[in-house]
């Protein structure tokens, strides 16, 4: 169930803190935006049916962020993963 939060919806109801090392995301989507992005993802999958839907979806999400925020998220996960292995 979606819980309304300031500036959007928090699908997990945990403020985006579901992953151990994830900080609150600055990528907030409302229901309408999710619907629009899903439609775009569906359209892209019709254009390139051999593509991986998961990759296409997450690329669409990443493209909504500034380039630096994209890199931050990529490093956040990579470095967090390494730190948790230490």
């Amino acid at each position: 169930m979606l819980k309304k939060k300031k500036g959007g919806y928090d699908e997990r109801g945990d403020g985006g803190m579901g992953d151990a090392v994830e900080k609150p995301s600055d990528l907030s989507l409302d229901v309408e935006e999710i619907g629009r992005l899903r439609a775009e993802c569906d359209r892209l999958m019709r254009v390139m049916p051999d593509a991986d839907r998961h990759t296409v979806w997450h690329t669409l999400l990443m493209l909504r962020l500034s380039p630096l925020d994209r890199l931050r998220r990529s490093l956040l996960r990579g470095r967090g993963l390494r730190a948790n292995k230490l």
């Binding site: 090392v21 900080k23 992005l37 775009e40 359209r43 892209l44 254009v47 390139m48 593509a51 991986d52 990759t55 296409v56 997450h58 690329t59 669409l60 999400l61 990443m62 493209l63 909504r64 380039p67 630096l68 994209r70 890199l71 931050r72 998220r73 990529s74 490093l75 956040l76 996960r77 990579g78 470095r79 967090g80 993963l81 390494r82 730190a83």
Partner: protein, 158 residues
Amino acid sequence: MDEVYGLTNSEIAFLRLLAAHRVPFMVVGLSAAALQGAPVVTQDVDLWFKQLDDPNLKDAIREAHVAYVAPQIENPPMFAGKGLDQIDIVVHMSGLGSFDEEYEHTIPLKIGTDVIRVLKLERIIASKQAARREKDLVNLPILMDVLRTRQHSNEHHD
């Protein structure tokens, strides 16, 4: 204070210093792919420098209070400095042309008032196709789907 896991303030400041000193360099590898929207995971920021003995690079290093550690046999050159241990110096890219040739295939990225150059996704894919390390082969299908998504998407992006 530096972020623990994400891009550190030291890294951002260093990139801006390199740009401000007009050091010829570009961001390459998976960090460059991430900047262009690839949902990939990486630990390092790979920087390809045209010349490691560039006087402007030496000035930027001095201003950033960073030390340059020369390569030794199997060990590549690196920077020593707080928050910069995950910046990798790249001196060669598999399957690609010279620095000057590849510089033509970069896109600008603005950080504040400074602009750095990022190698285009197409060329990152070419280098990974040539390198063919296990981790490259894992990421290649993802990078190719990202490239096609960017080409076909109606979503606004840089």
